[in-house]
């Protein structure tokens, strides 16, 4: 069984080598795809340099301009769809916040419970200080958890987590259509609303090792409004009974 780890990277020259280094402990069967989202620093050169030294198969796609996290992650899903041989696709941050030791657990939980989406949650277990984000962010996260629960009936604790494992029903659909900005809560809601099986696994997260967050203070209000509206808009869409097949490119 082959699984693909998608790492969206924007200006992550500092953290990327360490992040990819930590993934090398994973067993055979895992493959890695870095999607360089039009970085302005040396992320492109560094990512290319990592290919030769990676024990796991490593692919690198360079988006020529910065398109946003959603487009970067979707590029990974499209790569998986074009290949056709992957079972699970795991989204993993380039900034070193995610712990590679939990990847196998996410996949196992998907397999064991038949999940289409398993989200790594910071809030199911306490892994110590610094692992649960800032106070203001926690308020935002709780609000989205409440909104998603109220509109879909699905209970989640960490809807903004970008550490997640997707089964074929989810990632094949997302290869065709995926939210562009701040996609995690929206995509989670889409899965819940369309009766895909969603679960969570407690994971440890670290402080970011480098780069800058895609959600800065100035954007926080816009982020809350945009994602809330997107969820409400998605609620009034029809349930997708049959999932569209992604277009192969290779």
């Amino acid at each position: 069984m082959r699984n693909l780890i998608v790492i969206p990277a924007y200006n992550e020259e500092e953290a990327l080598p360490q992040t990819v280094g930590r993934l090398q402990r994973l067993p055979i069967g895992f493959e890695v795809m870095i999607v360089n989202d039009g970085s302005k620093d040396r992320t492109k050169e560094i990512a290319n340099g990592l290919i030769a030294n990676s024990r796991l198969p490593l692919y690198v796609a360079h988006l020529p301009v910065n398109c946003g996290i959603g487009v970067a992650v979707q590029t990974g899903y499209r790569f998986a769809a074009a290949d056709g041989g992957y079972r699970y696709v795991i989204q993993f941050d380039a900034d070193g916040q995610h712990d590679a030791d939990f990847i196998a657990g996410l996949v196992e939980q998907c397999e064991r419970d038949g999940l289409d989406l398993c989200v790594g949650s910071r809030f199911l277990e306490d892994f110590g200080p610094g692992s649960r984000s800032t106070f203001s962010r926690r308020i935002g996260i709780r609000f989205f958890a409440w909104l998603i629960g109220a509109m879909s009936g699905t209970t989640v604790t960490d809807p903004t987590s970008g550490f997640r494992c997707l089964g074929p029903s989810a990632w094949k659909r997302f290869a065709d259509s995926y939210p562009e900005d701040y996609p995690e809560p929206e995509s989670l809601f889409w899965c819940a609303r369309n009766k895909l099986r969603v679960g969570e696994l407690p994971v440890r997260m670290f402080e970011r090792q480098g780069g800058v967050s895609s959600i800065r203070k100035m954007k926080a209000a816009f982020y809350m409004l945009k994602v809330s509206l997107a969820i409400v808009f998605d609620r009034i869409r029809r349930t997708e009974v049959s999932l569209p097949a992604p277009q192969p490119i290779a």
């Binding site: 692919y59 360079h62 020529p64 301009v65 979707q74 499209r78 790569f79 490119i249």
Partner: protein, 120 residues
Amino acid sequence: MINAEFLMLLGGSGAFLMTLYWVRVRELRERYAITWLAVATLLFLTGLFPDALKYVARQAHLSDPALVLFLALAAIYTNSFFVSVTLTKHYRWNVRLTQQMALLEERLRRLEDRKASGEP
């Protein structure tokens, strides 16, 4: 003497000619030109038959300037809305092309690596 009717005639003729010019030099697609030709025609006809505008204003219980303002705002709103729709569509196409290009570049890199290492 310059009056509102004359200005509308002039504006309508100008808009008509400008639209035709931009279509002729292929800077404006025919499908978008249709809307602008309709606006130009409306301006032109209003300049030619100002009583028609006054009749509509009376029927709508509006003063002439208020009706003109309302029609202008409606035209601006409609056009801006469809520009937004078109921009969204073009954004999606751009994203798809960008992704496709990045993925094909990666595929090419792998093929070149394979060729360089002598693999079949």
